[in-house]
Amino acid sequence: MSTAAYDDRPRRNGRGTLPIRLTGSRSPGWWGTVCFCATEAMLFASFIGAYFFLRGSVEAFAAEGGKYVPLTRPLIMTVLLLTSSASAWWGEQGIKKGDSMRLRIGLAVTLLLGVAFLTIQASEYAHRETSWTTSAYDSLFITITGFHGAHVAGGLLMNAYVQLRAWLGHFDAERHEAVSNAVLYWHFVDGVWLFILAALYLSPRLF
């Protein structure tokens, strides 16, 4: 371990400074997060693909999958998630300027909105008249929304972890890679929700 005497000054390549990379888009950590989001997106694409495949090819499924699903709760949930993306972005912009307090507030608001989303989702489940073993449609509906809920919960754990580190003063204007990656993942989870909303809740009203 030679970390004690580590020289952290910027190094030069003859054309300008060559920084020790800690954060920012197109850094290895950012690319890693993007790839992770891509593979997760394909998981949800497979789920939603399964939904449309069954709706298109199995009559019993189409009868149920084509039914109107109540929209009140999912629309409230959508607003909550989109707002939470905005607050996460607001917090991240704060730490980019070195404002750690703004980061902590942004993350806390995001956390609360995420918890509210999960609470409403739980109440939606509680109001369902069928269980997930009733039919293939119920199985798929619960699996898709449940996996998304689990991803929201995962995003909230990341949020709490980053929040903890923010309180310990780990982040400043130049070093906040963990914040950027967690926020990127949160935007991704919110984006997935829009596809789920479109497929499971809105598409039966269209075709």
């Binding site: 371990m1 970390t3 850094s27 290895p28 069954l54 149920e64 293939a136």
Partner: protein
């Protein structure tokens, strides 16, 4: 701060780097090592062990099928053997062995000091190993998976397969996808961000193109398998109805999801091997490959085509004619990029400056033959009417084995003969290697060629025995003899490896006179790979002599990658050193080429590979192993339906992730002081 370090003493520099990068030779040190070369070798050894296990299963099946009405194996045992054979070979051998080569070679070919995420790399290996142990532990209870490697429902649902067999299959594969995905992301980011200066996209070795294509295909195709397995486990465990046609599900859903994953996977297990061919064949033809750009494009387009052909596995399921026509056409279209690659290799051989017929080249020639046979019978089965005749017969078995043995095993063995000297520092025996090649080549053809005929004569695959007098008897006997010959071939390889460990000739840095950067450092390479970060000015840096080795007027002087080990380097360096050029023992270098103040490598821009930043590498860490063990606990708890233990293992898993990510001084140094 000056931009150039005057007179770097390379001897002293390599000592400093060794101190920084060395893994202590203790058990704890080995378990926590994140060195990509160690991990690559572990991948290779583990995957080869799985090859031997899968081979033993195949041997048992060939013994059973050698004559009609044999009662050597029970039907249930035979089901488990062919399922484990396929699952092992496809998932725990064919792809991981290529990951092993990529792990070892990618940073070396890129001129980097390690992968972009070294700890994630260690984690990929541990989860690969432990998921394999997980699925093989089913053998202890006699409940190995028995639904074939593609596990079609309804055979595999709770009603028709009530035991733990298919739970082992589903959970082990879910476990393995974690390893595969993590590894794929690591390769993508490594190839994007850690190429040495000068290695723009157009100068990347072709093996990088195939590894990159494969990794992207993994990232995009694995989730379909994950979804299929999740549905299967939910159906089996909780009574959901994804695959239950009575309640609105469909067995066809499994087939679509499985093959959406499964066909890209076929290219995942062959593309890195074709990349190896594009590295090895030019070396032994002493010229750059013909059509470098076209081969790169063909590699990428094969990967893309791979996503559009999945339903050719399902022609006999009664899909609409329009679908089958589309997938038939798409499947035939794959032969275009494959053909481009084959003709590029042939043209390279045709236009060779000199033919060097060493063992790696022999295996590559064998590979081209088998690739063409596997391609031609593949085009045959891509035609729907023919496929209806051949599906589920031994003709398909012949096709897929020509593809997998020919396009995976032969290049892998070529790769071992070619790169093992780099890894161990010792050459393999050429005479034994020649025997190895011919015995295996004869054995493989003897085993699989007659399968075309028994298939056309109607023998279905996956039958544990057959009646006499169907016209299959003597062909099956020949196949079994061929299998025995193949076993001898593989044994000759193992003997060669063990012989070389003790008595092989000492390998110089570049024993084959190859062109790419992995040969620019000693055999075996030091922990830090390169004493100074190399730079390249073309696709074949080591063939460009002084341009690559000594720099060009107007730029900084630079050293050969590992001049400190000049003894190893003499052959390459002094041979090409021109009068008046500097002595490599001591040079002036820009500071970014030295990077000796901690575990560091260079981060460069995506397209042009311009130096961009210094990338800090983590120290060795035990967390990847802890996390992999926690996941093992989680999957065991899921297998035995133990909710409390599942919850405990889940919490431990999350805590391990937290512990892993918690910043250390190395990954997250204290804020810099103004200087």
């Amino acid at each position: 701060m000056s931009t150039v370090i005057e007179r770097v003493e390379l001897e002293a520099l390599s000592e400093r780097l060794e101190h920084t990068w060395k893994t202590p030779k203790t058990l704890y040190g080995e378990l926590s090592s994140v060195d990509h070369k160690k991990i690559g070798k572990r991948y290779l050894a583990t995957a080869f062990t799985f090859l031997l296990l899968g081979g033993l299963q195949a041997g048992a099946m060939r013994a059973q099928l050698a004559r009609p009405e044999s009662r050597l194996l029970s039907p249930e045992m035979y089901d488990q053997l062919f399922s484990m054979h396929g699952t092992t070979m496809i998932f725990w051998y064919a792809s991981p062995i290529l990951s092993g080569f990529s792990n070892y070679l990618v940073p070396l070919m890129l001129g980097a000091r390690d992968m972009a995420f070294p700890r994630l790399n260690a984690f990929s290996y541990w989860t690969f190993l432990l998921s394999g142990v997980f699925i093989y532990s089913s053998a202890l209870a006699g409940v190995m998976p028995h639904g074939g490697w593609f596990a079609y429902v309804p055979y595999t649902n709770a009603q028709y397969s009530p035991g733990l067999n298919m739970d082992f299959y589903a959970l082990a594969l879910l476990f393995l996808t974690i390893s595969t995905t993590a590894g794929a992301i690591n390769f993508i980011v490594t190839i994007f961000k850690t190429r040495c200066p000068g290695m723009s996209v157009s100068r990347m070795p072709l093996f990088m193109w195939s590894t990159l294509t494969t990794s992207v295909a993994m990232v995009f195709s694995m989730p379909a398998l994950t979804a299929a397995l999740i549905f299967l486990e939910f159906d089996r465990r909780f009574g959901t109805h994804f695959y239950d046609p009575i309640r609105g599900g469909a067995p066809m859903l499994w087939q679509h999801l499985f093959w959406v994953f499964g066909h890209p996977w076929v290219y995942i297990v062959i593309l890195p091997a074709t990349g190896m061919a594009s590295m090895i064949i030019p070396t032994f033809c002493r010229r750059p490959i013909v059509g470098h750009v076209y081969v790169a494009l063909a590699t990428v387009s094969t990967g893309i085509f791979g996503f559009g052909v999945w339903a050719h596995h399902m022609f006999a399921t009664g899909m609409p004619a329009l679908s089958t026509t589309f997938f038939s056409a798409a499947s035939m279209a794959v032969s275009i990029p494959s053909g481009i690659q084959v003709f590029a290799w042939l043209a390279t051989i045709w236009a060779a400056r000199r033919h060097v017929l060493a063992t790696p080249m022999l295996f590559m020639l064998g590979f081209i033959c088998l690739f063409v046979i596997g391609g031609v019978n593949g085009v045959m089965t891509a035609s729907v009417p023919f496929d209806w005749q051949a599906t589920d017969t031994y003709f398909v078995v012949a096709h897929l084995h020509y593809v997998l043995v020919g396009i995976n095993l032969f290049p892998v063995l070529a790769g071992f003969y070619y790169w093992l000297p780099k890894m161990t520092g010792r050459m393999l025996n050429e005479r034994l290697g020649t025997w190895n090649f011919w015995v295996l080549f004869v054995g493989v053809n003897l085993t699989f060629f007659p399968m075309h005929f028994v298939g056309l004569r109607g023998m279905p695959r996956r039958v544990y025995t057959y009646p006499a007098g169907m016209g299959w008897d003597w062909l099956n006997a020949v196949e079994s003899v061929g299998a025995a010959v193949s076993v001898v071939g593989v044994l000759l390889f193992l003997i060669n490896v063990f012989w070389s460990r003790r008595s092989g000739a000492i390998a110089p840095a570049n024993p084959w006179g190859a062109a790419t950067l992995e040969w620019a450092t000693s055999s075996p390479p030091p922990e830090y790979n390169f004493t100074v970060i190399p730079t390249v000015r073309g696709r074949e840096p080591l063939w460009e002599r002084h341009d690559a080795l000594l720099g060009v007027a107007g730029e900084e002087d630079f050293a050969p990658a590992d001049a400190a080990r000049a003894a190893d380097y003499v052959g390459v360096y002094t041979e090409y050193r021109r009068e008046g050029e500097p002595d490599p023992a001591s040079l002036s270098l820009p500071t970014w080429r030295v990077l000796d103040e901690g575990k560091e490598t260079l981060e460069s821009t995506l397209l042009d590979a311009d130096p961009q930043a210094v990338l800090r590498m983590p120290e060795d860490s035990i967390w990847p192993l802890i996390l992999a063990l926690a996941l093992t606990g989680l999957f065991v708890a899921l297998l035995f339906k133990a909710p409390v233990w599942t919850a405990i293992a889940g919490v431990v898993t999350l805590a391990s992730i937290g512990g892993w990510l918690w910043p250390t001084e190395a990954t997250f140094p204290p804020p810099r002081t103004a200087s």
